[in-house]
Symmetry: C2
Subunit: 187 residues, 2 copies
DNA sequence: AATAAATAGTTAGGCTCCATACTAATTATA
DNA sequence: TATAATTAGTATGGAGCCTAACTATTTATT
């Protein structure tokens, strides 16, 4: 083990409040350091979770995207159009094509041309694909539950509410060049 | 605009509570559907934020990783070793090498061999790199602040606390084949 | 001193996802 | 009907990050 890098740092280490403060003070900005900290921490958490998720699903020979596609199929009687999958998963159709390619190669889904619309190709969950979901269900959901195990039921509700609002705010990063002040244009 | 895909779905649409419930009920698992929902929503939020972040930084000719590297340099007198950068940013040394390559090509940083240790190559922030940070500071931090603008000061504190605990729980996804319960082994 | 082990940084190749541009099929318009 | 515009799915090339393996240098061991 000569080649080991400790990536999984403690959350406290990632972006500290002191660091956020220094950045803001340096330019004498009228910005709430805690707001910046929340944004930074969420980014760090998102990256960490994304990575952990890939490790988790790779145990079952899947990736995050491929699992989500299978789960969406299962939730829709095992048959969905690629464009619908793209919408459900929140990814592009091009990405869906790639996911299906791999899943089809592994025998978990297959494509079937539509008889009503020659452009469409329905994606079908195979028996093997359904079995894969069945086999991994227990461990998968147990791990998800354990992930939020440090939160009480009430705290989970609060977290869900706050996360939802922050998620709405993400558009502040991508909106057009921002008028002037950081005032939110919700009423 | 014949080729437009609406990726930025509303958060409510991504994984619904009903969908989580159906998944759990299908296999009659003893799992809290809300816990699964929290985990799923956080994953979705993380992915969305990561994407938005890249769009945000691309306005300044940077990526998320390259910005974070520059900011870390600025926070350490403009000179840090690559291995330290990797640790601060929570990425591998290989990734840092790639980030530096691009930043050096753009004239925002440069490498300088160490005199005390021939293996080390310090990364130095150039004047141009410092100017880049200065020029983007106002808009960057204003957008970050706006992102959490839907939360009150108190709510931000709560969110930070809850997010921190969930982040700790992420290891539940990557830990060894799960002993039994999701008890965390911190003291 | 000579050899082995560890460390710093890099390279090579992989994965996930995206934006863009393309082909084939359908629908609207004239 | 003939043409144009739209739609479904796909190919291509890129960005970001990873793991694993490699080179050069330093430190530890003998």
């Amino acid at each position: 083990m000569a080649n080991e890098t400790n990536i999984t740092n403690d959350i406290d280490a990632v972006p500290s409040l002191a660091q956020s403060k220094r950045q803001i003070d340096r330019y004498e900005l009228d910005i709430d350091a805690q707001a910046v900290l929340v944004a930074s921490r969420l980014m760090a958490a998102g990256a960490k979770l994304g990575h952990a998720s890939e490790i988790h699903f790779s145990r079952f020979g899947l990736s995050t995207g491929r699992y989500r596609l299978l789960a969406d199929l299962e939730d829709h009687e095992g048959e969905v159009l690629p464009s619908q999958l793209a919408e459900h998963l929140g990814v592009t159709r091009a990405t869906v094509t790639g996911l299906i390619d791999t899943l089809e190669r592994d025998g978990l889904v297959f494509r079937r041309s539509s008889s009503v619309d020659g452009r469409q190709k329905a994606v079908i969950l195979t028996e093997q694909g359904a079995r894969k979901l069945r086999d991994m269900a227990h461990e998968h959901f147990a791990r998800l539950e354990a992930m939020v195990g440090l939160l009480s039921i009430e705290e989970r509700s609060v977290f869900l509410d706050l996360l939802g609002r922050v998620t709405k705010g993400i558009s502040a990063l991508t909106d057009e060049p921002a008028g002037s002040k950081g005032h939110i244009s919700n009423e």
